[in-house]
């Protein structure tokens, strides 16, 4: 099926199952331990051995020699694989660095060996016996140092064209002429996905055929890239990943666990299971790259933006991509004169890549503080300032409308609900005992993407509808919304639908990423269900256009037949793929929201704690309000982490993330998160898909950190432009209370 004209009325619009807050259909399996995660697949292949991956001790350089004799002769060891005996390996199209190092080392903790042994303990112990002679090379690890000479990055696929800044109008002239201007630089740190489940794989060979039970968000990408890396035919590889303990983009790609498990299994001649240890997770894998963002805004005294410039610099390994932190700035606010660009420095830190809402999450951390600063300069309320600069058309391509854009309503509804009018516009002037209280707002914005997505649907003789697609559920609720879609389309209750996900033998889907999974994969299921309905109608000799599927029956005119009767002659199977036309070119498809946050800052210690949070989201039809809300509150929690604590600390001498465990890399705990309220505007966007639904899982993160930052500023009067906003960044500038203590600067004295 191709979606190339706006959706008309369709069976989904009945919203008997879709749009209803159902519990997760997989919830009972997860809460009873019946949902097997990759490392728990004890049953799938007998005789599993354990693999332990050794990571590089240096960030850049090469291996002069690698001595594995001691490890190989250690008790219980079955095989040791390094570059020296792995055979020739390719590199996945989605990987920047090789997943097995050697002799070149591209980043810290890049895998240099796997030890396979009878027990995990034996493998781990033997890995420590591998002696690697490294020769350190010269690397670049400091983004701030590299930024001034970082070249512009071109989004053009034709790399022969010189990269240029994205210009509309005459930014320089308009900015120079603007009566009110802001020119500020913001930084965001490297961040880790820090998902609960580490990378894990069980690999088993049968002759030249390989099966991996793994934890991966994008089955088709893993399938392609593992086959390419190992140099095997795709038809000889099966990838299975039905349950995933979180990913946030960290599991979009083939990673070392799968490659090393496959190599270890081949060398040992037995199935091998590998889980990456937590301290390896931070430098071995991908991360959200740090950014340095310069934003310039010019406005009339009335608060109309006349000029916007946003230049973001990030770093990555050679041939890596930038953090596209300026993406939203092209679309979010009107301003006739615009200058936008991305610079990319070469850094030899671990590979930077997508983490939840890549681009917008980082970009809005900066842009939405800038908007807050500008509102203050203008003497305007930050909500009103955003509303004044709303646009209903693509600011870079006037006349190209948004498919649906209710940002103003998100802001207005949120302001009313949050009692925004009680906010004191004078920062640092609201107290509750020893706490400084502040309120902040930020816009949420994230584009909606559609990705080709297929599914197979079968109606069994028992009347059960089974959906098969390689779509994944990374904790988001894919199982549930896909079941809801099939139930709605086929007119059966939810418990008459079985959903099977995450297997490369199923039709290729969108996978989970870029908040495109829900809308795209359910559209693929929709397409397959349309085909199945046609096949059933044909079987029953009725016109499919007239057939109504409801209550387990097919009704056509006066005729009403049980679904089960349609399959007397055997099950009926239909498969289809949703392809997308040009509606995304005709209309800009985006999702919108507004985040409101109240914080308390301890006037003594500067500690920041969030007291209230509200998100108002406009993202088309909400397929399941319960799982959607879970997505948004999880995202808001992640936003609090980004605002207040998450930072991969870079050792710029040795080139690695130092705080590489969950004690050092802090993410919010329950005690950090207050009551969170989420409101979805009642929408249905007919330009995006037959489901009329857009992504929500990343929208919920976009802008949260800036709303927290703006609330902190409102509380303290101290503007912090470098994330995370930790207490040391504002401690000594906090308002009066403490100055009465006349602190002598003992630190200065100590020097």
């Amino acid at each position: 099926m191709k979606f190339d004209t706006p959706a008309g009325i369709n069976p989904i619009d009945r919203m008997k199952v879709v749009g209803v807050a159902h519990d997760r259909v997989d919830g009972k399996f997860k809460t009873t331990g019946m949902a097997p995660y990759a490392y728990e697949r004890h049953d799938v292949a007998p005789g599993q051995l354990y693999g332990f991956i050794l990571g590089s001790a240096i960030a850049k350089g090469h291996i002069a020699a690698i001595h594995t004799t001691h490890a190989e002769s250690a008790p219980g060891v079955r095989a040791v694989v390094t570059y020296a005996n792995a055979g020739k390996l390719g590199k996945g199209s989605k990987n920047t660095a090789n997943l097995l190092a050697g002799p070149e080392i591209e980043h810290y903790h890049q895998a240099v060996a796997i030890v396979v042994a009878d027990t995990f303990e034996a493998a781990r112990s033997a890995a420590a016996l591998i002696d690697v002679d490294y020769v350190r090379g010269t690397g670049h690890f400091d983004l701030a140092a590299a930024a001034p000479t970082a070249p512009l990055h071109s989004e053009d696929k034709d790399k022969s064209k010189p990269a240029v800044l994205d210009r509309v109008g005459d930014f320089e002239a308009a900015f120079a002429a603007a009566p009110v201007t802001l020119d500020a630089t913001y930084t965001t740190p490297d961040e880790a996905h820090a998902m609960m489940e580490p990378f894990a794989t069980v690999a088993s060979w049968s002759g030249d055929k390989l099966t991996v039970w793994t934890s991966n968000q994008m089955i088709a990408w893993a399938h392609d890239d593992l086959a390419q890396t190992l140099g095997i035919a795709k038809e000889n590889l099966r990838v299975n990943s039905p349950f995933i303990g979180g990913g946030f983009g960290g599991k979009l790609f083939l990673r070392a666990d799968a490659v090393m498990a496959a190599l270890g299994a081949k060398a040992a001649g037995r199935p091998v299971k590998v889980a990456m240890t937590r301290p390896m997770m931070f430098n071995n894998s991908t991360h959200r790259p740090a950014t340095i963002q310069r934003i310039r805004l010019g406005a009339t005294r009335g608060g109309k933006l006349t000029s916007i410039s946003h230049i973001s610099t990030s770093g990555n390994l050679p041939d890596g991509s930038p953090e596209t932190a300026t993406a939203q700035t092209k679309l979010l606010y009107a301003a006739p004169n615009r200058l936008i660009g991305t610079r990319l420095a070469v850094l030899d830190l671990p590979e930077g890549n997508a983490m939840r809402a890549p681009g917008e999450a980082s970009g809005l951390m900066a842009l939405e503080i800038a908007m807050d600063e500008m509102a203050e300069k203008l003497g305007m309320d930050p909500v009103e300032f955003r509303i004044v600069n709303d646009t209903q058309e693509d600011p870079e391509k006037p006349g190209r409308l948004f498919s649906q854009r209710q940002l103003i309503r998100c802001l207005r509804d949120g302001a009313a609900r949050f009692d925004w009018s009680a906010r004191n516009p004078r920062p640092g002037n609201t107290r509750d005992g020893d706490q400084l209280i502040g309120l902040g707002v930020a816009t949420a914005f994230r584009n909606n993407l559609n990705v080709t997505s297929g599914a197979r649907v079968r109606l069994g003789h028992d009347g059960v509808v089974t959906v098969e697609t390689d779509m994944t559920d990374i904790g988001t609720g894919s199982y549930t919304i896909i079941a809801q879609t099939a139930a709605e389309m086929m007119g059966v209750p939810l418990d008459r639908v079985v959903v099977r996900l995450g297997d490369s033998s199923f039709p290729v889907s969108a996978g989970s990423g870029g908040q495109f999974g829900a809308g795209s994969s359910t559209s693929g299921v929709y397409a397959a269900c349309v085909k199945l309905r046609e096949a059933i109608a044909q079987n029953l000799g009725v016109n499919s256009a007239d057939a109504v599927f409801e209550d387990g029956h097919v009704r056509s005119g006066n005729r009403r037949v049980a679904l089960a009767d349609a399959v007397r002659g055997g099950e009926i199977v239909a498969e289809d793929t949703m392809h997308w036309g040009d509606l995304d070119k005709e209309y800009q498809q985006s999702t919108f929201g507004a985040h409101f946050v109240e914080v308390a800052v301890d006037a003594f210690t500067g500690e920041i704690r969030v007291r209230r949070m509200l998100a108002v989201c406009a993202a088309g039809r909400v397929l399941n309000p319960k799982t959607a809300r879970s997505q948004v509150i999880g995202a808001m929690t992640m936003g609090v982490g980004g605002a207040l604590m998450e930072e991969l600390a870079v050792d710029t001498r040795f080139g690695f993330f130092v705080n590489h465990d969950l004690a050092g890399y802090e993410v919010p705990v329950h005690a950090d998160i207050p009551h969170q309220e989420v409101i979805f505007l009642d929408e249905a966007d007919d330009k995006v898909s037959p489901m009329k639904a857009k992504g929500i899982g990343e929208l919920g993160l976009c802008g949260v950190a800036a709303a927290v930052a703006n609330a902190v500023y409102n509380a303290t009067g101290v503007r912090v432009r470098d994330y995370p906003i930790t207490l040391d960044k504002h401690l000594e500038k906090l308002p009066a209370l403490i100055q009465a203590l006349t602190i002598r600067n003992v630190c200065e004295k100590a020097k």
Partner: protein
């Protein structure tokens, strides 16, 4: 983790003898720190002597009106003890500010005193660390040091003692009772229990090889207002950037110890004496010899402000 042998000791003296008699042997109590470090091969004992059967799990009054806390009393049990909550509230407050409920159920009084630094370079066996591998150097110097110590450090080590409980014990003038391989008992004042790093940061305590902690003693209650204030980036389950344990009397005098700033709980008589003058006077003395890094110099101002909050809490205006 390296392969090791394991035994369960039958008496404190036997446990001490077992460890003293075997190079590479260590005591195992709750294991909440040691086992993690063994998995990372930061600790590589060849033999573990488990002390869980030694019945060192009682809290009992002492003749002088204090309390003796058995070495194996869990953090949870110690914090919940009615006598501790009434007479040594700073201790309860410090314990519950640390770790998590699960860890406190498992962690012991003696083991907690011996928990090792959380310096990230200590935790990464690819990096030089004089504490982990004597003589290899200190990667934290000139590296990422936001969490690390500002005072009491040396050119060999700037690691922080990470615990909370010991900071309260320091302000309570606790003692550490031990027994050695020959059955000889002694008491080490907590003030002298943790060593400064000097040139030997791997030697962290006054314990001799094989010397087993049997109890922690608390002197008779001193009254006053007990406060433990722990400052951290997130609300729970994080090590202190700075913590303050204070006992403040109605007249403004009292005692104060700082955590998160030094290789041991940090307290001085001169700083205590300045308490009636306020927080600034105290920290000017307590941190007079501080040698912070650019990353962690904020801790000194933070210590002052945290103490100010503590005093305000103890003596509302």
């Amino acid at each position: 983790m390296k392969a090791f042998t394991y035994e369960r000791a039958k008496s404190p003296a036997a446990a001490a003898a077992a460890v003293a008699g075997q190079p590479g042997a260590k005591f195992l109590a709750g294991g909440t720190n040691l086992l993690d470090l063994m998995k990372l091969q930061i600790e590589t004992p060849t033999h573990l002597v488990d002390v869980q059967d030694l019945k060192l799990d009682r809290i009992e009054p002492t003749a002088d009106g204090g309390l003796r806390v058995g070495a194996f009393v869990s953090n949870t049990a110690l914090a919940a003890d009615a006598r501790v909550r009434r007479d040594y509230a700073v201790l309860t407050r410090a314990i519950v500010a640390g770790a998590s409920g699960q860890l406190r159920n498992k962690a012991t009084t003696a083991g907690n005193l011996l928990q090792r630094t959380r310096c990230p370079y200590f935790y990464d066996t690819n990096q030089p660390c004089n504490k982990r591998r004597p003589g290899s150097g200190c990667a934290a110097l000139g590296g990422y040091s936001r969490q690390l110590a500002v005072i009491g450090t040396s050119d060999a080590c700037i690691a922080t003692y990470p615990g909370d409980m010991a900071v309260a014990l320091r302000v309570l003038d606790a003692g550490v009772e031990t027994i050695d391989a020959h059955g000889a008992a002694r008491t080490i004042l907590l003030a002298e229990f943790h060593h400064s790093p000097g040139d030997t940061p791997h030697l962290e305590t006054a314990l001799a090889p094989g010397e087993l902690i049997t109890a922690v003693t608390l002197p008779p209650p001193v009254g006053g207002h007990h406060v433990y204030r722990k400052v951290r980036d997130r609300a729970s389950y994080a090590f202190a950037l700075v913590s303050v344990a204070a006992i403040i009397q109605p007249d403004g005098s009292g005692r104060v110890a700082f955590g998160g700033v030094a290789p041991k709980p940090w307290r001085s008589d001169a700083a205590d004496a300045a308490l009636p003058e306020g927080a600034t006077a105290v920290t000017a003395r307590a941190f007079a010899d501080a040698r912070p890094t650019a990353d962690n110099k904020f801790k000194i101002a933070l210590a002052t402000r945290t103490l100010a909050a503590t005093i305000a809490q103890a003596r509302p205006a």
